[in-house]
Symmetry: C2
Subunit: 142 residues, 2 copies
DNA sequence: AAACTATATTATAATTATTCTAAACTATTG
DNA sequence: CAATAGTTTAGAATAATTATAATATAGTTT
């Protein structure tokens, strides 16, 4: 449970002004036990529910992108309809539950280390991530 | 190099009428050496260039989705801006070149078999795919 | 603290990818 | 060939995201 002043410091350190809106968004994003996987819409809804506060959608977009740029959030693509973001910024794998459309972190030691025998020549590996799609047995595989 | 009549048979077999447009799209998609990774826009452009033919965008969307449903194409999510499709319908991994925004197939035996120790309870694994993001050394990691 | 300047917020418009609609067209079947 | 069921099409509708430009705020200077 981080306090406001800690968020203020963090934001200042990364050259972001600690505005009222950004602090609210920090609260919603980072004051939670577990990793938060969300769409912009989820976040906007969360802000409204948790804080009973309305922040302009544009600001939510701006802030999420600012936080991503500073490395406090990462973007995940599982679905081309909308972007998902992740408060777990480490390199990690995901389960994607096709029944519920939920992203779930996959513990890194749940999967053996992945070794790429031949990389593209002249390129450097930036990340290696596994996406495991799951569904209840009877599900249509779309 | 498949002939028209082979496409006609294939389409008939899957209950799709072999229309002029679908045949053209088959030509562009499947008469090539290597796997084709494309966006709808790439495909539309290809149709125009290769066949000097204009097919309505709605038809391109319809056809791609019909082909996907029949299992002749698969959809890949690397980027939430737009959908990528793949003529390689097997379970396989990808390199994504961040410099060029190109998807490249990763040979399955380029990566050791992936074993998931603990799956989500009550769910069945539908697919396990690795995405390896690469870039030239000096690239900013966005 | 007032003034100044750089940044951030906001409502709203614009853009882009994708899907929907409904009318015109075409492949298939009898 | 005629009936019909499926397909194509242009254009409208929708939804996510980004751009704009006026207003507000934070940090800095005086
Ligand atoms: Mn984005
Ligand atoms: Mn979209
Ligand atoms: Zn995660
Ligand atoms: Zn592929």
């Amino acid at each position: 449970m981080l306090k406001n002043s800690q968020f203020i410091d963090k934001l200042r350190q990364s050259g972001l002004r600690p505005t009222k809106q950004r602090l609210k968004i920090c609260e919603v994003l980072f004051n939670r036990e577990k990793t938060f996987h969300f769409t912009i819409n989820d976040l906007a809804k969360s802000i409204l529910e948790k804080l009973n506060e309305k922040i302009s959608l544009a600001t939510v977009y701006n802030t999420v992108h600012a936080f991503k740029k500073k490395g406090y959030l990462k973007e995940i693509s599982i679905n081309s309809d909308k972007s998902y973001f992740d408060t777990n910024i480490t390199n990690h794998h995901h389960f994607f539950d096709e029944d519920t459309n939920q992203l779930i972190d996959c513990d890194n030691d749940n999967i053996e280390n992945i070794n790429i025998k031949n990389n593209i020549t002249g390129k450097k590996v930036k990340s290696v991530e596994v996406l495991i799609k799951v569904a209840s047995d009877n599900q249509n595989q779309n």
